[in-house]
């Protein structure tokens, strides 16, 4: 790394302010003014639209395996989604995913 200390602090400060402004943007500027109906309809899908796209590449090409597909991690991801859809409860889904991950890792280590 060849940056000076002040350059590094400038990066940290600008990222800090910039990230805050991104997070504050709509919440800060719109406040309780009404939003268009179609915008509200789009925004209701935000969690379902953002997080699967963020996670999917990590499931197919995990960092820890150097990007190689790992059937154990894929299985754990599928188990998490199925338990979550079935039980409608995040904690059960986490448990299902973690048990599948470590259970399958344990079994493959044994045999």
């Amino acid at each position: 790394m060849t940056y000076s200390a002040s350059e590094i602090w400038a990066i940290i400060a600008i990222l800090g302010v910039g990230t805050f402004l991104i997070r504050f943007s709509f919440l800060g500027l719109i406040g309780d003014r009404p939003m268009p109906a179609f915008a509200l309809r789009l925004l209701r899908f935000t969690p379902v639209a953002v997080l699967p796209a963020m996670v999917a590449p990590l499931v197919v090409w995990p960092d820890a395996t150097g990007g190689a597909f790992d059937p154990i991690r894929a299985l754990a991801a599928i188990a998490t989604v199925l338990v979550g859809l079935w039980m409608r409860n995040p904690l059960w889904a986490i448990l299902g995913g973690v048990v599948t991950l470590y259970g399958t890792m344990g079994l493959t280590a044994l045999f």
Partner: protein, 240 residues
């Protein structure tokens, strides 16, 4: 014996948030620890690494920035790439407006500072499930969710800086994050429109995974939101 009624009414929402946020310690802890280790390896001082975790407080973008700094990328490129990773939070911000828009400015600013993936997804799931929550209770709930996660994020970063030891990869802790996000999202898939949005999100997310970090995600999210809205309109049209 006199307990103020204000306290009695504010507490349940806050403590419900603390309870729902607590499991994310499992995920924030290892993630922040790893950031502390990598930032120190990269040559950042203790204050600089902590500065990232306290001022930026957005894991994925912190890793992206440090990675590019190790490669001695231009400062403008470091900033652009890391901020692109965080642009999804503008969508989070917009989707919180119907629930929190009426809160006082300082509360909205504090929520904005604490608005990362874990707090957002936990809070929005609660707001959708309990439509009758007051704005005040929603803010308290959000602060409650952030209460266990935020100190762990700071503390584990510091522990990583001081310990300087990476967690063994055999523990597969890298995969706790995908599991927790999938676990949060799956119960929110309630209709055909949600299924369609999730399928588009996954497909486009994978197809565009080769783009610079953040950009593929934004396109996938936009396409998925549009898909969800269009399918919902189509379903409403079929009912009438």
């Amino acid at each position: 014996m006199t307990v103020s009624t204000a306290k009695r009414t504010t507490r349940p929402a806050y403590w419900a948030g603390v309870r729902d946020g607590a499991p994310f310690i499992l995920m924030a802890g290892p993630f922040a620890l790893l950031f502390g280790v990598i930032a120190t390896d990269a040559g950042l001082t203790l204050a600089q690494a902590m500065g990232f975790s306290v001022l930026v407080i957005a894991g994925a973008s912190q890793f992206a920035a440090v990675q590019l700094m190790v490669e001695n990328a231009g400062i403008a490129f470091v900033l652009l790439a890391a901020l692109a990773v965080n642009l999804r939070m503008a969508m989070y911000s917009a989707s919180l407006v119907p629930y929190l828009g009426a809160a006082p400015l300082w509360q909205r600013a504090t929520v904005a500072y604490l608005n990362f993936d874990q707090t957002y997804i936990t809070a929005i799931a609660r707001y959708e499930a309990y439509a009758q929550m007051s704005v005040h209770d929603r803010v308290l709930y959000f602060f409650g969710v952030a209460t266990p996660i935020t100190p762990v994020w700071f503390g584990a970063t510091l522990a990583g800086i001081l310990a300087g030891q990476t967690i063994p990869e055999a523990w597969a802790l890298d995969f706790i994050m995908p599991i927790m996000f999938l676990a949060m999202v799956a119960p929110m898939v309630r209709s055909l429109a949600h299924v369609a949005a999730a399928v588009v999100s996954v497909s486009v997310g994978i197809a565009l995974a080769g783009l610079p970090s953040g950009f593929g995600l934004l396109i996938a999210a936009g396409a998925a939101m549009l898909t969800g809205a269009m399918v919902e309109i189509w379903m409403e049209g079929r009912k009438t």
